[in-house]
Point group: C2
Chain length 315, copies 2
């Protein structure tokens, strides 16, 4: 492996020749970079992991890494590592595929992200099963709501209390006399037949029409709604994550005096096909700072949602 | 002002009639929302500010707000407030214009951002003068560098030490025998005649050609470089902000034992004409968590850079 050759050359432990000519490190780096795509990034990561006291080998992604103190041949590798540049957008289907590979090999999956100055951040990438403990929506709920510009207002005092207290839908205002529902909440309740939403002229909006109205205000609305619905159907409490810069903050149960903070931040990767690593870095950093788990949601063409947890790790 | 009318109606302090018919709150909200663009958002913010014990009036943006305990007519207003929806992208020239208005009126400028659930976050928006204490680049610096894929390597031991120790350019590797420069750093040093960068065939790259190469790897490169150059020209140390999810972290002087942390995070608003509020919220939240000031950079057509500091405030 050329990364290993460069590492040993840099330490003066080997000499390298190309067509009889001895190569210094400068010549070696130029030639290796022109031969191997991504050599520069791979070399930086290789050196960094070796310097931390691990052995590594070429692997199915970029490298496989052995536990500290274990040499290749003496035992099993523990991680598989993909090397990424901060600047290159990645196809959002890649983490899902890498997770499958790691699972089949029974290894942990790490992404080594090299920033523009050559610093490396390691992220662990895992599939996340999302599951909460809330009961399904009751079939006895039926209310009318008014569509204002960006929200739906429910006025029925019995229903609004039930929706808010049992499932934490919406936000009570005016001392509990009014419930403001967000668009995703409204769409969910329309789809479940729990509310009818009236426009300014008193006409009932179908789910399809409601989604059109919401999508005109928020271009990403439908894909956000798919995630909202999926998490709610799984029994979770899903509220806006705006204050944390994510689409949603998510609770496994109704918050109580003892468990008040949401456990997850869930973010839809917004571009259709690619994710930008600075966006991921920022979200993971922020979630870490507020002690939540950062979960990215990827929606495929059949509207199935996959959840990928990404967290900082120290190698 | 209809917001005030709604507020008093909700509290039962007035009755409202439209064509002889008394309006309940539900009817009032429907009619006001159809009459006034953004009424719903303005009403939420109006109520929130009144509930916090401030008086407010319609103003040049959305509202002007009086200091606590001061009524309109008794004294001067303190803030001017623009009401924004989390979901609507804003034109990136707007903060600059609002800052001018606030400065002329000698008021503080606040943005009230309403999220999809009706919660409101207040941000203070200020112009920021960026200034550091580093000396300009010496004219005695002249070295050659190799362009690898995403970095430039300097091998001259005297120059690399000077660049790194006096201005904190690049990153030393291999026990100080090599200096890795990022693309923005390399472009800056090329433009100042301090280095010549050679491609794999040994040809010197002009600044223009170097920018082309860098832009092929990072589409936003040129505008990022304009900001980098501007901050460096102002005597600041500018390093990548990748770990903080921003373009740059910025120091007013060379970090020392006593002053080690960067004071600012600087982020280029990436879309050409609009900024998305969730992106701003996320950056401000993150900067707050790491005790840095969040500064957004806006580049105009003449390549002038304006710096806008946005910070969380509690009203």
């Amino acid at each position: 492996m050329l990364e290993e050759a460069g590492y040993l050359l840099e330490r003066g432990r080997i000499a390298l020749y190309d067509g009889g000519e001895e190569l210094n490190l400068r010549e070696f780096l130029k030639r290796a970079s022109s031969l191997i795509p991504n050599f520069e990034l791979r070399f930086l990561v290789y050196k960094n992991i070796r310097d931390r006291g691990y052995q590594l080998k070429a692997g199915i992604l970029d490298f496989r890494v052995y536990p500290r103190g274990i040499k290749p041949g003496e035992g099993e590798s523990k991680y598989i590592i993909r090397v990424l540049s901060e600047r290159e957008p990645i196809d959002i289907t890649i983490p899902g595929k890498d997770i499958l590979i790691a699972r089949n090999l029974k290894k942990r999956l790490l992404y080594a992200v090299v920033d523009e100055e050559g610093d490396i951040t390691y992220y662990e990438v895992k599939q996340k099963e999302m599951r909460g403990s809330l009961p399904p929506l009751g079939t006895d709920i039926s209310a009318k709501g008014d569509l204002l510009e960006e929200r739906v207002i429910i006025w029925d005092p019995f229903i609004l209390n039930k929706l808010n207290k049992s499932w934490w839908f919406g936000r009570l205002t005016d001392e509990g006399r009014r419930l403001q529902l967000s668009f995703v909440e409204s769409a969910y309740l329309i789809e479940h037949g729990s509310i009818e939403v009236l426009d300014g002229d008193g006409n009932v909006l179908s789910l399809e029409r409601f989604i059109e109205v919401a999508s005109a205000i928020e271009s990403n609305f439908y894909r956000k709604y798919i995630i909202y619905r999926d998490l709610r159907d799984k029994g979770m409490v899903v509220k806006t994550g705006f204050k944390f810069g994510s689409h949603f903050r998510v609770y496994e149960e109704m918050p109580s005096e003892s468990v008040f903070h949401s456990r997850y931040l869930v973010h839809l990767l917004t571009d259709d096909h690619t994710a930008r690593l600075p966006e991921i870095s920022r979200a993971v950093r922020l979630a870490h700072g507020v002690k939540k788990e950062m979960v990215f949601a990827v929606v495929d063409e059949s509207e199935a949602v996959q959840y990928v947890e990404i967290s900082w790790v120290r190698l």
